[in-house]
Symmetry: C2
Subunit: 167 residues, 2 copies
DNA sequence: CGGTATCCAAGTCGATACTG
DNA sequence: CAGTATCGACTTGGATACCG
C-alpha cells in the first residue's frame, strides 16, 4: 500500500509520493471513509468505473494540450515568476517561436488558465499571470512530473532492454 | 493553503484534493521538513526553481510520449480489467484504429508500462497487462483527472466568456 | 488472430515578412 | 513591443490491403 501526501503553500509546493505506508510517521494516515464524506472528498474517476464522457473528453483534450511542451513550460515560468510580459516569456521559454507563444497564450487565456492585461501605452505593454485555475492545474500535474522524474531511469532501462531484444 | 492526501490501495484508489486545510481533520497535516527528510520525500521540481535542462527535456519528452489520448485510454482499460487480449483492448478503447492500437501498445511495452505475452498457439493469442510502472503512472494521472472533473464547469464558462468577447 | 505495409488527408510548427 | 499573415516542411492518424 502506498500513501501520498501533497502540501501546497503560497509560492512553494511539495509532494511526497510513492512512500510505503510503513515508512510514514503515525501522524500521516489515509482518510477513513467517514472523514472522506465529511470533507466532501471524492474518489479518483479512473478507478470508480464509468466516467462522465464530458470529463473524459476534457481530460483527453487537456492532456493533449499539456502534453505539448509549450503549455507546460509557460505554466512553469509563470508559476515561478508571477506576472510576465510577452517577450520575457519568449526568452524564458527557450526555443519557442513567436507563433507558438502567441497561439499557446491565447489558448491558455481562453481556458481561463491565465489573465492577459493590455496596458494602453506606447509601446504596447501586455502582461500575463496565472489565474487560480492555472495554478491549480500546475499543482495537479505535479504528480505526473514527479512520476516522470522518479521513473526516468526505469523507463530508459526498459527501452534499452526492449531495443536490445529487437536487434 | 491547500492540502491533498492521496491514498492508494490494491485494486482501488482514492484521492482527496484541493481541500482547505481548515476543512481537514487534525489527524491530517502536511509533513514537516524533518519528517520529509527522514522518509526521503522530495519536493516538486516545478516549484524548486531552475531544473536541470537535460532532465527537463527528458521529462517533457516522457510526458509527451506517455500522455497522448490512446496511451491514457489503454492504461485505463488495462487498469480496470487486468490482463487483456489485443482485439479485446481494441473493442474497449472505442474509436482506436488497429494501427494506433499496435503502435501505442508497442511504445508502452518499450517504455516498460506493460508486458506483452505471446502464447505460441494457433490461432495466436497475445495478452497485455500493466507493470508496476504502468500502474503507478495511472496513479500519477489521478490528480489531473480530479482537476479536470472539478474544474470542467469553470473551463467551459471561461471559454464561453472568451469566445463571446471576441464576437 | 494479431499483426505489417502503404497511401493519403489533415493538422502542427518554424521561418519569414509585415503592422499598429 | 506585441502581435498577424502566409508558406512550406514535417508529423499524425485513419483506411485499406495483405500476411503468418
Amino acid at each position: 500500500m502506498y500513501v501520498t501526501a501533497l502540501q501546497l503553500e503560497e509560492g512553494t509546493r511539495k509532494i511526497y509520493t510513492h512512500l510505503m505506508e510503513s515508512d510514514l510517521p503515525q501522524s500521516i494516515r489515509p482518510l477513513d471513509t467517514a472523514t472522506m464524506e465529511a470533507v466532501g472528498a471524492s474518489s479518483c474517476p479512473l478507478s470508480t468505473g464509468p466516467v462522465d464522457p464530458r470529463v473524459e473528453r476534457l481530460v483527453n483534450e487537456l492532456i493533449g494540450r499539456v502534453a505539448d511542451k509549450w503549455t507546460m513550460l509557460i505554466l512553469e515560468v509563470l508559476e515561478e515568476h508571477g506576472e510576465l510580459r510577452f517577450t520575457r516569456i519568449g526568452k524564458l521559454v527557450e526555443g519557442i517561436s513567436q507563433k507558438m507563444l502567441t497561439q499557446t497564450l491565447r489558448q491558455m487565456e481562453r481556458d481561463g488558465l491565465l489573465i492577459r492585461t493590455v496596458h494602453p501605452v506606447i509601446p504596447p505593454r501586455v502582461e500575463y499571470r496565472l489565474t487560480d485555475l492555472g495554478n491549480s492545474l500546475s499543482a495537479a500535474f505535479c504528480g505526473v512530473w514527479m512520476w516522470a522524474a522518479a521513473n526516468l531511469d526505469r523507463i530508459e532501462a526498459a527501452r534499452e532492454v526492449f531495443d536490445t531484444g529487437r536487434r
